[in-house]
């Protein structure tokens, strides 16, 4: 059974319709990369998948639960879906370790000792066990994003969403974050990634989805969508991306 099932999803902000009927299926263990021009609705789609936005119309079903505006159901969904933001959004008043352990303690009810063991393991996974006591302000951008990934993973999510996780990073820091994501993919995590890193898409993604103006225009294996795009909008977009 599919882990994510999106049918005829519309999302409106007032008069502005951002998503205009999106259909999407993600199988467990799949890595899907979303590309498309700025403002086409990629972030909004991801936010609908994790319940930060509620559909205006259509259905979003994640692991059998439908996204609705019922607070308890939303909270349950949040717990099963991890989200990594472009601008990290680490909690600046907490150390790296505390960032990772806060939700497990408060939401899952882990004891301090259990949470610390878990937190250190998560930080080790992103190669940051040595910086457990550092505050976000003392970490580089790449390190912060890795802590943010560890923070999401600590909740043992079934699905991980990444919204341009490397766009806010200096070029030399992009690699360390992508490396962590590659490792996650190798371990079989189901991932939806919005990114402009075409190398990552080509290597890691099982499927690339090209979106434009609130719709899915084209999707398929990376070789097909990136090398031989069918749709003129896809071709145009990729040409501009490669000529940068």
């Amino acid at each position: 059974m599919a882990l994510v099932e999106v049918r005829n999803l519309h999302k409106r902000f007032g008069a502005l319709e951002v998503l205009k009927g999106v259909d999407l299926t993600v199988q467990p263990g799949e890595v899907v990369v979303f590309v498309g021009p700025s403002g086409c609705g990629k972030s909004t789609l991801l936010r609908c998948l994790c319940g930060l936005e509620v559909p205006s119309e259509g259905q979003v079903v994640v692991g059998g639960t439908q996204v609705s505006d019922e607070p308890k159901a939303l909270q349950a969904l949040h717990r099963r879906v991890g989200m990594v933001f472009q601008r990290f959004h680490l909690f600046p008043h907490l150390s790296a370790l505390e960032n990772v352990t806060l939700a497990p303690r408060k939401v899952l009810g882990l004891s301090d000792a259990e949470a610390e063991t878990l937190g250190r393991r998560m930080l080790a996974m992103v190669q940051l066990d040595s910086r457990a006591d550092a505050y976000p302000g003392q970490l580089s951008g790449g390190q912060q994003q890795r802590v943010a990934i560890a923070r999401a993973l600590a909740m043992k999510p079934e699905l991980m969403l990444f919204d341009e996780p490397t766009s806010a990073l200096d070029p030399e820091l992009v690699g360390e974050v992508l490396e962590v994501m590659r490792e996650l993919a190798r371990e079989g995590m189901t991932m939806c990634v919005v990114t402009h890193e075409m190398g990552f898409a080509a290597d890691v993604a099982h499927r690339v989805v090209f979106m434009d103006a609130g719709k899915v225009v084209e999707e398929g294996p990376p070789q097909q969508v990136l090398r031989e795009p069918q749709h003129p909008r896809t071709r145009e977009f990729l040409a501009r991306l490669l000529n940068r």
């Binding site: 909270q75 949040h78 717990r79 601008r87 959004h89 008043h93 939700a103 939401v107 505050y135 999401a152």
Partner: protein
Amino acid sequence: MSRRRLSCRQAHTPGLALLCLVWGVLVLLGCGRGEAPGSRGDWKGRTLRIGTDATYPPFESVKDGELVGFDIELGALIAEELGAKVAWTNTSFDGVFPALMAGKFDLVISAVTITPERQQRLGFSAPYYTAGQLVVAREADTAVTGIESLRGKTAGIQINTSASLVLEKFPDIEVRQYPSIDLALQDLRNGNLAGAVGDGPTLRYFLAHGFQGLRAAGGMLTEEHYGIAMRPDDPALREAVNAALQRLRDSGKFAALEERYFGEAAQKAQATPQAVPWGKVTWRLAQGLGLTLGLTVLALISGLPLGLAVALGRRVRFRPLAWLCAAYVEGLRGTPLLVQIIFIYYALPQLLGVDLAPMLAAVLALTLNSAAYVAEIFRAGIASVDAGQEEAARALGMGRAQVMRYVILPQAVRNVLPPLTNEGIALLKDSSLVSIIGMAELTRAGQELASQLAAPLAVWPLVALFYLLATLPLTRLASALEKRLHRQG
């Protein structure tokens, strides 16, 4: 007393107009209501409660922490005649009549001039002292010989006093108004005024006690009578007081009292100005500061959590509660603290039928008022936390309350430390307004000392210094806290 406010219609500031409004409400509520202790006419063994504003020598002032003066001794004699014990309340003149109407005491003996306006609202005893308006000028300025010679010049008076009635008849005298008459005298001495007009006995006292270089110019301009004020619905008490006054006159005790305060010997004794007793002044001000600090700390301790609760209340999903919290903030920020203090101390007990001690009323008013400002500070602090923080926390599965408690608030608190410090400092200074319900905090202590010693120039700089001493540690504490929190971030 004629230097003081004559009637509501002449109140100039909005705060005073509102005070009169509250007073009006009180008169409506208070008249013919509550126990009227005097109505039995028999005061034997009971306690006669008397209010006064002890900043008006030689009638009433504070000396070494004790009430002294002509009125004070008169009150004691009357109580003695009635066989009653006496309990004094020293409060600001603004607050003395509302408190009387609210039943906080039975009499006001405070050099109160009997005027037609006051007679509409208050009961008065027979007159017990005849005073009048007097012109004061610089000794060197021989051109000023009385009110006529002030034409075309500038004269100082205390705001809203019956001196203004005198000066109304001289439109070509420019009038400058001062919050208290000793400040007008100081400005006269500094050469900014040609003369000052005020109550004769008190001006004479000031001339004798600290304002060298000034002299009385001409005789009394008017005749005014002081009376003992009481609630108008208490004719039995009025008769008892009048009878006591008559007995005091018959026995010669009244004449002896007058002689001691206003006889020739007294005038001569007064003529020697004293040096400022710095030790006593400092000690009195320190006591006032202690009360100011106590009030501020208590109000902050309870105002901070209340303000936080109100700020959070405005965010709840249950709209009526959110509206209530918003209304609370707007209501308390939109009305003067002075009016709130008066309302809580004088009107609330009438409406609810409970009696609040002044200290409790003062802390309550300051708490409720500062909570409104604290709530706004917290609201701004919460709004200043990046929206991504809440999203990240929610995306981790945290509930609304958890997001607020563990993610938003800790960051908001850091943002609001500077404005909270400002609020603390503002509160410390605003706490001076509780002098209206008789709390002898720092400003009131300064007022009492300045008038008693006739030395405003010596007292007020010291008062300012004491306030500064109190606020400096507060700013220091806040910046230290800020630095500590910053190191973490």
